[in-house]
């Protein structure tokens, strides 16, 4: 008669159970990366949880960008770069022969440190991706995608009356949000961001951070940042890299209040020798 006792879960438990049931977006196992003879990543195993923000921190040159570029095969564009190990997106090996790299990069979008809008109009910056990926069937659909993408990127109100002016004419913070709109327009699953705020002032930074928080509902986000405060503010999980290794990964709050590894502790408290 066990069926008689109803299992009652608190809303928090339900939430936790739901989260546990969702498989990680990326599973990476034993990733090694070499630039020619030089090893840049050693045996990195890290799961990127779905609909969470994962931040990657660590000293300059520790391999954060290298790791990020593995996730959408941007390293393919570097001749001397070799990537080994398992990188699975929704369970599928992204380095397998069957993987269409163009399609992969649409699913896993990227936003760079320096805003890099095309030297075209704001409108064209956003509609370019959907056009080449054949996401929109007609002009009306395209307009709609441009509109919603700019809205998601929190830029719509600022640009709606100047859609045909060049994207490069926007302020740095606006350009960065334009790049986010461009990434969002191709309806990706994942957005990778490599120091997206390092060229922005605190207000523009706050807007991007607010945006990241909103985007998390629909997207999985991985962000590389040199600002510990930013990692603490925007992410749910944090990974600390050092000399090409993933030293520690955990709940962001745990990493910043009570890290387990001496090296993490040294880095985040500013004691690195």
């Amino acid at each position: 008669m066990t069926g008689m006792t109803a299992e009652v879960m608190t809303p928090k438990e339900v939430e936790t159970a739901k989260e546990a049931a969702i498989a990680p977006k990326f599973v990476t196992k034993g990733v090694d990366v070499y630039y020619a003879e030089k090893q840049a990543l050693t045996n990195v195993s890290l799961d990127i949880e779905t609909n969470q923000v994962t931040s990657l921190i660590g000293p300059s040159g520790c391999g954060k960008s290298t790791y990020l570029r593995c996730l959408n095969r941007m390293n393919d564009t570097i001749d001397i770069c070799r990537v080994m190990g398992d990188i699975l997106l929704d369970g599928a090996d992204i380095y397998s022969r069957e993987m269409d790299v163009v399609h992969l990069r649409a699913r896993v979008g990227m936003v760079f440190q320096k805003p890099n809008p095309f030297p075209k109009s704001i409108y064209e910056n956003v509609c370019y991706g959907p056009k080449i990926h054949g996401i929109a069937k007609n002009k009306a659909e395209l307009d709609d995608i441009v509109h919603t993408s700019l809205q998601k990127a929190g830029l719509w109100n600022e640009v709606k009356d100047r859609m045909h002016e060049p994207g490069t004419g926007l302020s740095g913070g606006q350009q960065q949000r334009l790049c986010i709109a461009r990434a969002v327009a191709v309806q990706p699953d994942v957005i990778l961001m490599d120091e997206p705020c390092s060229a922005l002032d605190p207000i523009a930074t706050a807007k991007i951070e607010e945006l990241i928080d909103e985007l998390r509902v629909n997207y999985t986000i991985v962000i590389v940042t040199h600002s510990m405060q930013q990692a603490a503010r925007v992410s749910q999980r944090t990974g600390f890299f050092h000399l090409g290794e993933l030293v520690e990964v955990g709940e962001t709050e745990q990493i910043f209040t009570n890290p387990k590894d001496e090296r993490t502790q040294g880095y985040i408290t500013g004691r690195f020798g």
Partner: protein
């Protein structure tokens, strides 16, 4: 002692915070032992001195607040550094409370000096010694980040609570025996309560040692032997 931050002045500020806590703690220890001494010797002058001395502890607490806020705002401390700052804020307010208890004990000395002594005063003095030791040990554990000492302090709180409960009974008994005891016994009851609170704060400080070292306070409730809230003493012959 904080050391090896890349930014040296960060170390300096953290160390300053630790030093002020140590100074506050030392002062509060002296205040407490002076208050107990004045009580024992019925020394009203000394008691007045103790009451006036509390201001210095309050000033140091403000200094800790100021230093901690500035550290939080300007350095954004993380991990152990963050816990150090939070620990300092909490411990300083606990020390400040202990200072207040010493002052309260001192204030009752003049009233107690005017009435004949009662035997429970000896048990109260014993509670005084016990809680002073606990307080000193707790401060030592905090300042030297010594978890073993912190655990010992925590374990002694039971003893303090039990002693307080027995003082409570003893005082009630004396009050019932002879109404002329009521004044002194009532004042002693407040003194005992203050001392019992010192024991509680010593325990809290010891728990902060665990927090700054390990990032969490110890699990599990401490055994509570303070049964005074439920204690009833019936006069002999009436039942």
């Amino acid at each position: 002692m904080a050391s090896d931050h890349i930014v040296k002045s960060f170390d300096d500020q953290l160390n300053r915070l630790g030093n002020v806590i140590a100074e506050m703690g030392g002062l509060a220890e002296v205040q407490l032992s002076d208050a107990m001494e004045a009580l024992k010797r019925r020394d009203i002058e000394k008691a007045i001195e103790v009451a006036a001395g509390d201001q210095r502890i309050d000033d140091l607490e403000s200094e800790v607040d100021h230093l901690a806020v500035s550290l939080l705002a300007l350095r954004q401390p993380m991990a152990t550094d963050l816990r150090d700052v939070i620990g300092a804020l909490k411990v300083s307010s606990m020390i400040e409370r202990v200072g207040d208890y010493a002052k309260n004990v001192a204030k009752r000395t003049s009233a107690l000096a005017e009435v004949p002594p009662v035997p429970p005063a000896f048990t109260v003095a014993r509670l005084g010694r016990l809680t002073q030791e606990m307080f000193k040990e707790a401060l030592d554990s905090y300042i030297s980040r010594d978890l073993v000492k912190a655990s010992t302090t925590r374990n002694r709180d039971e003893e303090a609570d039990a002693l307080y409960t027995s003082i409570f009974r003893e005082l009630l008994t004396y009050m019932m025996e002879d109404p002329r005891n009521i004044t002194s016994c009532t004042h002693l009851l407040f003194v005992a309560k203050n001392l019992e609170r010192v024991g509680d704060h010593a325990t809290n400080i010891a728990e902060m040692t665990h927090f700054v070292v390990e990032g969490k306070t110890p699990e599990g409730e401490r055994a509570n032997n303070d049964e005074s809230s439920f204690t009833v003493v019936r006069p002999a012959g009436i039942d």
